[in-house]
């Protein structure tokens, strides 16, 4: 039955829902690597740029890349404690969103920091990757905790 929210203007409920069969395509090995507790990155064979998240094709020069395993310990590059979020993540609040620097990786990696109080996180904090035992096939299969 249609839900009515108001009459002038007439406001009615409309529902929309869809399931996608989404392909991670050429970066599938990143997500498959998380299952094996590995952070799989790529390195450009032409210019040497390193990418995590990985890219099959270099985002700097367009060259082809090769896979390699990234280190799992690094430092917090920047972070924020979230007290509001999109609807899908409201149940997670509050949580710490952070970019992590890893040695030998040119990019910084977006992740969540767990295993400590939000107010204990600081820029430069040493952190290490932790992995879900039961994977969900999303980037949340990995997060970082203080070393």
């Amino acid at each position: 039955m249609t839900h009515v929210y108001g009459f002038r203007p007439l406001q009615v409920g409309r529902h929309y829902e869809i399931d996608y069969v989404h392909s991670y395509g050429e970066v599938s090995d990143f997500f498959l690597g998380l299952k094996d507790h590995k952070l799989m990155a790529t390195r450009c064979e032409r210019c040497g740029a390193t990418w995590l998240p990985p890219r099959r094709d270099c985002g700097r020069c367009g060259g082809k890349t090769v896979w390699f395993e990234a280190p799992q310990e690094g430092r917090v590059h920047t972070f924020s404690v979230l007290h509001f979020a999109a609807e899908a993540f409201l149940a997670d609040l509050p949580f710490v969103l952070a970019y992590v620097e890893l040695p030998g990786i040119d990019t910084v990696f977006l992740t969540r920091i767990k295993g400590c109080k939000p107010e204990e996180v600081y820029i430069g904090m040493p952190v290490r990757a932790r992995f879900r035992r039961l994977v969900d096939w999303t980037p949340n299969d990995v997060w970082f905790e203080p070393v």
Binding site: G59, T78, S80, L82, H83, A86, E87, L97, I123
Partner: protein, 428 residues
């Protein structure tokens, strides 16, 4: 390329109200712009249109551009939809500029809209976050305020910028909007009030973040010949510079390197950054857009050669970051420039005299065009006429930049993925 002029603009009152359909909001904005030309422009004289809106999720109607084109009685004239996240409106002005400059059209109506009130704020934030990489970024953060907060934190770390300096920008923009009848928020905030307000994502509190909105805006772009006919007193604007920059979809993929110098700048000026640019704390796309627009407009000293700017302040922090990208102050000096009064009315270069997105609202597809409308009205010295509402005690003359001859509007998408800078000037 032909000279492109801006002769009129219109906006609807931004509100999260869900009262009219999108096409009716657009019609109201267009009617406002036509009325302001005192009947000198007829509907039949419009040769082409550019339609801008952001999200099919918010608007739950594909091909909304055809629906609005039809509703405006513009068929069968040429039209095109432009979409580029938060920069949708700025890109629309760029597309309209291209239409007229190229000779494809002598008179182009650029209109944009968004209606964000059909879903809850949390759901709306989810839709907006789908404009981040949905494989790697959305599932982790899923919230633009969160992404911008991490940039703000890094800016604070790199340069010693403070939450108080971000808060000053929010206070400034609410103060300006208090004199603008079009603004969604007529609120007075103190520095302490902004800092103590509910935290959204550290260091950004609720009043430092723009709000969702319904609204429409339009600008009429044309050749110089048409401009002289439509504005016989010469009270129109000329677009003297357009620029557009881009950056990586994922914020974390941004490199560290050397600053792109603005026209006439010695790159050595930035040696103190030691190659730490743009990283996550600066917007390379804004710098690139500014470089192009300044080059085209012949601007060598933006702080002294631009009279005011309408800047995409979706967050108080990103307004501060943008001062530096646009060359209003050095990288790292944004916080001190605010404290010195630089971006205030009466300051060196007033930024967001309208109140910006923070106070005016951010109906995405209309926003960049709204900034263009306020920029035109400033150059016409018509802010008092358009923005006052005596019944509410609103005196728009308080936010007119006296004698303004050259204005900048800056439109910004994603985490800085698309950014446009458009320069409007009074005719010589």
């Amino acid at each position: 390329m032909r000279k492109v002029c801006v002769v009129s603009g219109g906006i609807t009152k931004f509100a999260k109200a869900n009262l009219l359909t999108q096409e009716a909001m657009v019609k109201d904005a267009v009617d406002y712009a036509l009325t302001d030309l005192d009947g000198r422009l007829d509907y039949k004289d419009i040769q082409s249109t550019i339609c801008t809106y952001f999200s099919d999720h918010f608007n739950s109607q594909l091909l909304f551009d055809s629906l609005t084109q039809d509703y405006l009685a513009m068929c069968p004239r040429p039209s095109m939809r432009i979409e580029g996240g938060g920069a949708t409106g700025g890109l629309g002005i760029r597309a309209g500029y291209m239409d007229v400059a190229s000779g494809l059209s002598d008179l182009c109506l650029v209109y944009g809209f968004e209606k964000m009130s059909e879903v809850s704020t949390a759901k709306g934030n989810e839709f907006i976050a789908l404009a981040s990489d949905t494989d790697f970024d959305y599932p982790v953060g899923g919230f633009y305020s969160g992404y911008y907060a991490t940039m703000a934190m890094r800016h604070m770390h790199e340069f010693g910028t403070t939450a108080e300096q971000f808060a000053l920008i929010a206070v400034k923009n609410y103060d300006n909007a208090f004199h603008n009848r079009w603004a969604q928020k007529h609120e007075r905030w103190t520095l302490e009030g902004v800092l103590k307000a509910p935290m959204i994502a550290t260091p950004l509190t609720r009043p430092m973040v723009c709000v969702m909105s319904d609204g429409a805006a339009c600008l009429i772009l044309c050749t110089e010949e048409w401009a002289k006919k439509l504005r016989p007193k010469g009270d129109y604007a000329v677009i003297t510079g357009v620029g557009c920059g881009t950056d990586t979809m994922r914020l974390g993929d941004r490199p560290h390197g050397d600053v792109i110098p603005l026209p006439g700048e010695d790159p050595a000026k930035y040696s103190y950054l030691k190659g730490r640019w743009p990283g996550l704390h600066c917007f390379r796309a804004a710098r690139e857009a500014a470089r192009q627009a300044y080059q085209m407009a012949g601007i060598r000293d933006p702080l002294h050669e631009i009279d005011f700017a309408e800047v995409h302040d979706a967050y108080a922090s990103s307004e501060l970051q943008t001062y530096e990208d646009l060359g209003f102050c050095l990288y790292g000096e944004g916080g001190r420039w605010v404290e010195r009064g630089g971006p205030y009315l009466g300051g060196e270069l007033p930024v967001n005299p309208s109140g910006g997105l923070i106070a005016c609202g951010h109906p995405v597809g209309a926003t960049g065009i709204m900034q263009g409308v306020f920029t035109l009205w400033q150059l016409q010295e018509a802010i008092a006429r358009h923005c006052s509402d005596p019944a509410q005690g609103i005196d728009g003359s308080r936010i007119q930049v006296p004698g303004a001859r050259r204005g900048l509007c800056h439109s910004h998408a994603g985490t800085g993925t698309y950014i446009t800078v458009n320069i409007f000037e009074r005719p010589q």
